[in-house]
């Protein structure tokens, strides 16, 4: 058994067994007739839905919309979060004034803001983007704060010896030392923004996007379309995450090998 499992090809084949069994069971449910067959979409109709969504460009448009919503949220919410976290760590009075408030806001499940924002800003794409920005804001803020607030004392001592101005201290000591955590925060922010995009799209259904398509397909009982959108979500999430990890490694290449 051990020798078999050591071979990559064999592992791959074994890994395929469960999904294939599941697909076979699925297909059997779909084609067995009866009431349940209506809910289970047969595999060929999922394939047909995929071809249809790819051919008329709907899938590409949805993927583009969701990705750009996530990235816009990451850019806006993430940069505000970094700015807030860094300022709070450098200037303690700001931390004391805004810290408790921000931590209180953070306790509310992100989606819990949707009804309120819906009343204030309408149930359109603007509200979707605001929630995505908010979801990216907090991980970026918390990690940047931690990064800057916990810079090693010996670095700061060296800075004092060299007589750094506050700006030099920030630019040459605090920022590079905090960079790994800031990037960790951005990685988390990206994951949060991605989930928030899908969630707000499902809940508000405004504009276009993978979540909007899923929501619409659910009201039309089109399980095949939902599954295509879910597969696209999984693949896109994986690709974005991998690219971001690469970028992170590239930006941190000056660092000693991670411990």
């Amino acid at each position: 058994m051990k020798q078999v499992l050591a071979r990559p090809a064999a592992r791959f084949a074994i890994g395929l067994v469960a999904p294939l069994l599941f697909l076979a069971w699925w297909q059997w449910q779909a084609s067995s007739g009866g009431a349940r067959a209506l809910t289970f979409a047969p595999l060929q109709s999922i394939g047909a839905a995929l071809v249809e969504l790819v051919a008329d460009g709907a899938l590409a448009r949805d993927m583009f919309a969701t990705v750009s919503r996530s990235l816009a949220g990451l850019a806006i919410g993430g940069s505000l979060g970094i700015a807030m976290g860094v300022s709070m760590a450098i200037w303690r009075p700001l931390d004391r004034v805004l810290g408790p408030l921000l931590h209180a806001i953070r306790q509310v499940p992100l989606i819990g803001w949707l009804p309120l924002f819906g009343l204030w800003f309408g149930t359109g794409q603007g509200t979707e983007l605001i929630v995505v920005c908010l979801s990216a804001f907090f991980p970026a803020m918390l990690n940047s704060y931690e990064g800057v607030a916990h810079v090693e004392q010996r670095y700061l001592d060296v800075g004092r010896l060299y007589g750094f101005t506050p700006f030099q201290r920030f630019r040459l000591l605090l920022l590079p030392a905090a960079m790994p955590l800031i990037l960790t925060g951005l990685t988390q922010a990206l994951a949060f923004a991605w989930i928030a995009s899908i969630a707000t799209e499902i809940l508000l259904g405004a504009g276009s996007g993978l979540g909007v398509t899923m929501q619409l397909a659910q009201t039309q009982q089109r399980l095949d379309v939902i599954l295509v959108a879910i597969i696209a979500t999984a693949l896109l999430g994986f690709v974005i995450n991998t690219l971001f990890q690469r970028l992170r490694r590239h930006l941190l290449r000056w660092q000693a090998a991670p411990l």
Binding site: M1, K2, L5, R11, I14, G15, L16, V17, A18, P19, F22, T39, R96, V97, L98, G99, P100, L101, A104, I105, Q107, V108, P109, L110, I111, G112, W113, L114, P115, L116, G118, L119, W120, W194, I195, I198, A199, I202, L203, L210, G211, M214, Q215, A217, Q218, Q221, L223, I226, L227, A229, I230, T233, A234, L235, G237, F238
Partner: protein, 250 residues
């Protein structure tokens, strides 16, 4: 920490509340848009007194509890299974990791189609949100047990039940508890989202009804309650985690 620190921490939120109250009373914004905090407190109070709030919280916590229990037990069993058997890992881990790529919330439309929008759907989505973090933490926890411990157990011819109870469980408790805490906060978020979408009771539904009826005070009351519950769940789980792993620092 000095006694002054909590006071200082309270200053800003209190000042903000006062500012909010003033802004709401100034009449610059219509009351449907900016409700004075005093009104929110009053709404919260009347919801609590009429028993309505209690019903919503009760319903939400019941769903959370049942779904969490199912998801955590399944996650523990699955995580232990793929951690202990190389064959199970090879057979199930790839599929598990593929599904893991999908945000749990994206399963909402699928579950609605299969289960409808009633109770089973909400319990299932909570169970799903719980299952993944718990399974992953259990897997990591068990794989993190040093191999030497198993070797010692083999030398002593430890029986399987003893191996599980006296080596595996104590060694994996910290990681598993962290996973279970993460799962708890996540499943709360997912449940509120599911209730916003479809429910006839629960905190999420209370907020959604408030939105549809333009009762911003009810919505804000829901925001406060869901925040407090989320905070309490996280704190409670942290306290349990701390208590259960105290032996590590003794």
């Amino acid at each position: 920490m000095t006694a002054r620190a909590p006071l200082a921490a309270l200053t800003a939120p209190l000042a903000l509340l006062a500012l909010w109250q003033l802004a709401a009373l100034s009449g610059v914004f219509p009351t449907q848009v900016l409700v004075p905090p005093a009104d929110v407190a009053e709404t919260l109070w009347s919801l609590a007194r009429s028993g309505e709030l209690e019903r919503h919280i009760g319903e939400s916590l019941f769903r959370l509890g049942l779904g969490y229990l199912i998801g955590a037990v399944a996650g523990l069993a699955f995580g232990a299974c793929i951690a202990l058997s190389r064959l199970a890992e090879a057979a199930l881990a790839p599929a598990f990791l593929a599904v893991w790529q999908v945000p749990v919330i994206a399963f909402v439309p699928v579950l609605v189609i299969f289960l409808g929008i009633d109770e089973p759907f909400k319990i299932a989505i909570v169970a799903l949100a719980t299952f993944f973090p718990v399974a992953l933490a259990t897997f990591d926890g068990i794989r993190g047990v040093p191999k030497a411990w198993f070797d010692v157990a083999r030398v002593y011819r430890t029986r399987i039940p003893d191996l599980i109870l006296r080596i595996l469980v104590p060694a994996t408790v910290p990681a598993v508890l962290t996973g279970m805490r993460v799962a708890l906060t996540r499943s709360w978020v997912v449940l509120v989202a599911a209730e916003l979408l479809a429910a006839d009771s629960g905190i999420g539904q209370m907020m959604e009804m408030g939105r549809q009826m333009f009762r911003i005070d009810v919505v804000l009351a829901g925001v406060v309650v869901s925040g407090v519950i989320g905070f309490a769940l996280d704190r409670g789980a942290k306290a349990i985690e701390h208590r259960a792993t105290r032996w590590k620092y003794a």
